[in-house]
Subunit: 163 residues, 2 copies
C-alpha cells in the first residue's frame, strides 16, 4: 500500500488509541461521594455493570489499538484488520450507547419507573462519565472512518485493477 | 453478481426485515399496568426515551430493509448498500445496547443509585421488551453477517481479478 494510504490510517489509529485510553482512564477514575441523612453514598463506575462494560470495552479497544498501530500494511493482514476494526467499532458503539442510556437516567431520572436522578448528589462522578462518553464517542467515530477508509481503498483497488 | 450470491443476500435481508419488524411491533405494543397504593402505574415503551429510540431505530431498519430487499444487484448500488448496511448495523447495535442497559436496570434495579426493579410489578411489559430485544439482536447479527458477506464478495472479486 502506498505511503499516502499508510499515513491517514496511522493518524486515525493514533487518535482512536488516545480516545479509547482516555475513555478508559476517565471512566475508571470516576469517583464521588455524598452524605444523605448520615448515610455515605459512594458513586464509582463499578456500581453499574454498564459502566464496567464501558471501561472493559474501551480497555479492549485500547489494547487492540496499541497492537495494530505499528503493524506494517501487509496484504495478508488487512482482511483480518478490516473485520477486527468492524468488531471493535461494534463493541465501542454498543458500550457507549449502553453507558449513555444509563447516564441519561442518572442525569434526568425516570419518573414513570420512580428512578431518581443522582447527578445532583454526585456531580464529579457524572462529569467523569460525561467526558468518558465523549472520548468513547470520538473513538467510535474514528473506527467508523477507519472502516470506511479501508472499504474506500478496497473499492479503489477493484476499480483500478489489482494494485 | 451470480445467482449463488443473490440468494443468500436475499435470505439474510428477509430474516433481518422480519426481525426488525417484529422488534418494532413487539416494542410498540408493550403495555402493562399495575396498581400500587391505589395509584395506577402504566408501563409502556414511551415512558423511556431509550425504548422510543429502540422502536424508531428498528422502524428505520425495517423501512430500509423493505426498500433494499427487492433491489437488483447493480454494481453502481452495491457500494452505497454496503455503507448503508454498516450504518444500519451501527444503529441497531446502539439501540439494542441502550435498551438492554435500561431493561437490565428494570429487571435487577440498581441498589447503589436507589433504582428499584419494576419487572415484578409489570411482568407483561418486561416480557415484551425481552422479546423485542431478542428480535433486535437477531436483526443486528444478520446485518453483521450481511456486511461480512459483502466484504467477502468484494475480497473474492479482488483476488479473482475484476469479475
Amino acid at each position: 500500500m502506498a505511503m499516502a494510504k499508510i499515513i491517514p490510517t496511522f493518524l486515525l489509529r493514533l487518535i482512536a488509541l488516545g480516545a479509547t485510553v482516555s475513555a478508559t482512564v476517565v471512566m475508571v477514575t470516576s469517583h464521588d461521594s455524598t452524605t444523605v441523612l448520615n448515610l455515605k453514598f459512594v458513586a464509582k463506575y463499578t456500581n453499574s455493570p454498564t459502566f464496567k462494560y464501558f471501561a472493559l470495552a474501551n480497555a479492549v479497544a485500547s489494547g487492540y489499538g496499541l497492537t495494530t498501530i505499528f503493524l506494517p500494511c501487509k496484504t495478508s493482514l488487512w482482511r483480518l484488520l478490516l473485520v477486527l476494526d468492524l468488531v471493535i467499532l461494534c463493541l465501542l458503539n454498543s458500550s457507549i450507547s449502553a453507558a449513555l442510556a444509563i447516564g441519561y437516567v442518572g442525569k434526568k431520572g425516570n419518573t414513570h419507573a420512580g428512578w431518581l436522578p443522582i447527578c445532583g448528589e454526585v456531580p464529579n462522578f457524572c462529569d467523569h462519565v460525561n467526558w468518558a462518553l465523549i472520548s468513547g464517542f470520538v473513538a467510535a467515530v474514528v473506527y467508523f472512518l477507519l472502516v470506511l477508509y479501508s472499504l474506500h481503498n478496497i473499492v479503489n483497488l477493484l476499480a483500478g485493477g489489482k494494485g
